[in-house]
């Protein structure tokens, strides 16, 4: 028994592959790693399916019912089964990207930090030759790398899909570049929010020091933060304005606000005169305006919001390190 | 130690404490935080809905037709436009409606994690089982007390929601067939959280650890929610309308499929005939009942499985 024990475990120790804290991280969160791989496989699989056979089938069926035009056709604003399948596939891919920040927050607050502090295994690590700060750094860096890699892959696939299914989309008017999840899945935001989730989860886990409260509060905090940033989104870049004398300008892009213009150029709320000249004159209305973001504002909006989200994540990380440092003494 | 069970606490204090007793008290005391959070959420939602009801009439005026100057039938447009209550009304009712349709998810995660998984992981379930409580009664109390609290909460909120929606103007509160509106306006609103509770508890008993059980409970209910949303339209036979030429369905119809027969040149001119399948508004209740039945059946099956699992594991 003894001899066997010695043999097997000494054989296991000096193996190849990751070492030190990295090994410990990967080994401890093995099931989370598998889950992440599985989730990525599902996301990549559905998006690739949508890109290939899904889109082809949708097109074939769409043409069959006679909606071959390039512009949106009033008679064609319904979904055919193949398109609805295609849409579901794209929805799953983008939905995974939308869900990841919350999963990251819940996991980081619960399993990554909260559980370790609750059960004392964090203290176990800190009394090895690993300072709490290095432990926390590993806890942040390894998941951050994996989250970034996975999110970026899905984002790139989603972008590839987006650049190829324009006509289909226009015909069905189902998704727009500025719709919440689409907007995030097409740029850097999906990744930034995933990292924010991780940072928020880690901070909440350190504050709560318990598994389930850590999980619940981290998820709630992530929801609250995202509600704020999403509400701020249209105001992160100067808007473009369209004006028109007789009627409203076309409704394009991400509309931020609209109303009527008086002869002095002042903006007022539209009294909804429709075509009543007397009413228009009474309110001194000489035209209408609409503030909006054209699709060319995609990247500025995307990058400013990414910057804000990453800054908040950075603050959370900083707070986590300071908290740990204050609690455990001078950590080197 | 005497706080573990009120039955032992009662003799020491001399007079019996008021309020719930025995296992019910235990369950409510152990999950006090969850109970407080639930009550606060309900109170907040009710307050918002009362506010919405209060601005409901004004919101409707904000959507009405108008004329300039005001005629005997129509108010002045300037007056109508000054009303912003309609936007507030839509936004907040939408928020409550969506939240009510999502209650199943936190409930499932909580039931899997805190209610069952954590107790089995930390061994506190055994603590209960070695008091004068059989495991089956323990599980029954664990399920019944939250079920009652959930049913009362979601049922009450559902009624307040219906009251605040008043005449269900789809411009203000959304069409009846939108997924979250459908789930927040009928008995499904009560059934879904119960299914979440049962599925979460089953996950907790199966995994016996807090975090995996919370994750599995959440994932299973996410799947249930999405499957039912996807196949909701098939839960009751659709109506079909076929006519020569073209026609439009009213907004209240939940359209499913169009079949257009074209003449010689598809896509040009008027089609020869059009056929539409859809759910008219009158299908709302059959759809609600069938879906409620399915969800409650899932809840019952999960509960049964949980009890059988516990019985098989215990002597």
């Amino acid at each position: 028994m003894t001899a066997v024990t010695l043999e097997t475990s000494t054989a296991a120790a000096p193996s190849r592959g990751p070492r030190g804290l990295l090994w410990a991280m990967l080994r401890l969160h093995c099931s989370a790693l598998w889950f992440w791989a599985l989730l990525m496989a599902v996301g990549v699989g559905t998006l690739l399916w949508a890109y290939g056979p899904g889109a082809d089938a949708a097109w074939a069926e769409y043409r069959k019912v006679g909606c071959g035009g390039t512009a949106a056709d009033l008679g064609c604003d319904f979904t055919v089964p193949a398109y609805s399948r295609y849409d579901t596939a794209v929805g799953i891919g983008a939905g995974i990207l939308g869900l990841v920040p919350f999963l990251a927050a819940a996991w980081a607050g619960g399993a990554l930090i909260g559980r370790e502090l609750e059960s004392g295994t964090a203290q176990l690590a800190w009394t090895q030759s690993v300072s709490p700060a290095r432990w926390l750094a590993a806890k942040l860096a390894v998941p951050a790398a994996l989250l970034t890699a996975g999110s970026l892959v899905l984002t790139l696939l989603h972008r590839m899909l987006w650049s190829s299914d324009g006509v289909l989309r226009m015909a069905m008017t189902s998704r727009e570049w500025h719709h919440g999840i689409t907007f995030q899945a097409n740029g850097t935001l999906a990744t930034a929010y995933a990292l924010l989730g991780l940072a928020v989860g880690v901070l909440v886990g350190l504050l709560q020091r318990r598994t389930l409260p850590g999980l619940a509060i981290a998820t709630a905090a992530q929801m609250a933060l995202m509600a704020v940033t999403v509400a701020l989104r249209p105001h992160l870049w100067p808007v473009e304005t369209l004006t028109d004398k007789d009627e409203y300008p076309p409704f394009i892009g991400m509309v931020v606000g609209d109303g009527a213009l008086t002869s002095t150029g002042a903006r007022i709320e539209d009294p909804i005169c429709v075509d009543n000249a007397k009413c228009l004159a009474e309110h001194d209305i000489v035209g209408f305006y609409r503030d909006y973001h054209p699709s060319s504002h995609f990247w500025p909006l995307q990058l400013v919001e990414t910057g804000i989200v990453l800054a908040v994540a950075g603050l959370a990380v900083l707070a986590a390190f300071r908290l740990l440092n204050r609690r455990t003494g001078a950590a080197v | 130690m005497s706080t573990a069970l009120p039955a032992t606490a009662a003799p020491t204090t001399g007079r019996p404490p008021r309020g719930p007793r025995g296992l019910t008290w235990t369950v409510l005391r152990l999950h006090r935080t969850a109970l407080i959070v639930w009550c606060l959420a309900l109170a907040a939602a009710t307050a918002v809905l009362i506010w919405m009801y209060a601005i409901g009439d004004e919101a409707r005026r904000g959507m009405s037709g108008c004329a300039t100057p005001a005629t005997d039938g129509l108010p002045s447009c300037a007056a109508v436009d000054a009303i912003t209550a309609d936007e507030t009304y839509s936004a907040f009712l939408g928020l409550i409606t969506t939240s009510l349709s999502y209650v199943i998810f936190p409930v499932a995660a909580w039931a899997g994690g805190a209610l069952i998984g954590r107790e089995l992981e930390s061994g506190t379930a055994r603590l209960a089982w070695t008091q004068s409580v059989t495991p089956a009664r323990w599980l029954a109390a664990k399920l019944a007390a939250p079920a009652v609290v959930l049913t009362a909460g979601t049922g009450g909120l559902l009624l307040v929601n219906l009251w605040a929606r008043q005449d269900d103007d789809p411009n203000l509160v959304g069409d009846w067939y939108l997924p979250d509106v459908f789930l927040a306006t009928g008995p499904t609103a009560v059934a879904y959280p119960l299914a979440g509770l049962a599925l979460g508890a089953l996950a907790g008993l199966l995994w016996r650890r807090a975090l995996p059980a919370a994750g599995v409970g959440f994932a299973v209910t996410l799947a249930l929610y999405n499957v039912l949303e996807r196949y909701r339209d098939r839960l009751w036979p659709t109506a079909t309308r076929s006519e020569q030429g073209e026609f439009e369905l009213p907004r209240s119809a939940w359209q499913q499929d169009w079949d257009i027969t074209w003449g010689r040149y598809p896509g040009e001119g008027t089609p020869v005939s059009t056929s539409a399948t859809f759910h008219p508004r009158s299908h709302y209740w059959p759809l609600q009942y069938v879906e409620t039945g399915i969800v409650l059946a899932v809840a019952a099956a999960a509960t049964l499985a949980a009890f059988r699992l516990l019985r098989r594991r215990m002597p």
């Binding site: 203290q123 090895q128 030759s129 080197v332 | -």
Partner: protein
């Protein structure tokens, strides 16, 4: 003066403003190479003291130095086993030892750790989750000793072990300590478990140091006396006295020669500790030449 393993000065630790401090102005000094027992009633601050020495907590006031360094910088040189023996339940025994290897790249001695695990007849492929409490203790101790620490901090190490395993592990621990000059600090409230193994004693009560110093000197400073109830002990420090009928039994710290009225015996470790536990208001005694606490 020998090298110092742990030195504390005015060490205080408070969890929350309104709560009673867990440690209140503790000062003591422990020379390197000693085996020290930290004894005290429940809630005396033993676990807090060990956590502070392990660099897991930051003291509210005062300082503690370990092996001449701040605990946070001496991390590599000390090992710590917490009271509830936290281990990752999802890892196997072999992986737990590998964890020690990976997290202590410069110090890990796999042979020592594996020997301790093998002596308990543990299957290296078994998950920690499936182990009994005593087996977990064994793995936790293997993890601590595999690190080759210069200072070993053990919080209630033997509580879960059967008498045989306790005896065996204690022997292994002492042999290891003697061979490598490891300083061992272990807390316990089972005094019998420590007798014969320790050469230093630190008795805590209500967050304060009650007794500190080499065990033999502490024992020599106390005398168990029996005499007539009306005899006076006023010249000496009385730790505890009990009157039965006309006879009085007391544990005293003689300040000079005791009179012929008294029958004297040397107290055992257990008698010394129990007397101090029963008499929480007895004055503290420190024989460890530490700097005086600046309270």
């Amino acid at each position: 003066m020998t090298e110092t393993a742990i030195e504390a000065a005015a060490l205080s630790m408070r969890f929350g403003r309104r709560r009673r401090p867990a440690l209140d102005g503790c000062a003591f000094r422990l020379p390197a190479g000693s085996v020290c027992a930290v004894v005290g009633p429940n809630g005396a601050g033993k676990s807090t003291l060990l956590s502070l020495a392990a660099g897991l907590l930051r003291p509210t006031e005062g300082t503690v130095t370990v092996l001449g360094q701040a605990p946070a910088t001496a991390r590599e040189r000390l090992a710590y086993v917490a009271q509830d023996k936290p281990l990752h339940p999802q890892l196997t025994v072999a992986d737990t030892l590998r964890l020690g290897h990976e997290l202590n790249p410069r110090r890990w001695d796999a042979a020592v750790a594996e020997r301790i695990v093998a002596e308990g007849d543990l299957d290296p492929a078994a998950k920690v989750r499936t182990l009994s409490g005593g087996q977990r203790t064994r793995v936790a101790l293997a993890l601590a000793l595999g690190k080759r620490p210069e200072l070993l901090l053990l919080d209630e190490p033997m509580a879960d072990l059967d008498p045989l395993a306790r005896h065996q592990l204690m022997a292994a621990l002492m042999a290891d300590a003697a061979e490598h000059g490891t300083t061992v600090v272990m807390s316990s409230h089972v005094v019998a478990e420590l007798d014969g193994a320790c050469d230093h004693l630190l008795l805590l009560g209500a967050g304060r140091v009650r007794l500190a110093g080499p065990l033999d000197e502490l024992l020599a400073a106390h005398t168990l006396v029996t005499g007539r109830a009306d005899a006076s002990l006023a010249a000496h420090t009385v730790v505890e006295s009990r009157t039965t009928g006309r006879q009085i039994t007391a544990l005293v710290r003689p300040e000079g020669p005791l009179g012929d009225d008294w029958q004297t015996t040397a107290p055992s470790l257990e008698e010394l500790v129990l007397a101090h536990l029963r008499a929480p208001e007895a004055p503290a005694l420190r024989l460890d030449d530490a700097r005086e606490a600046a309270v």
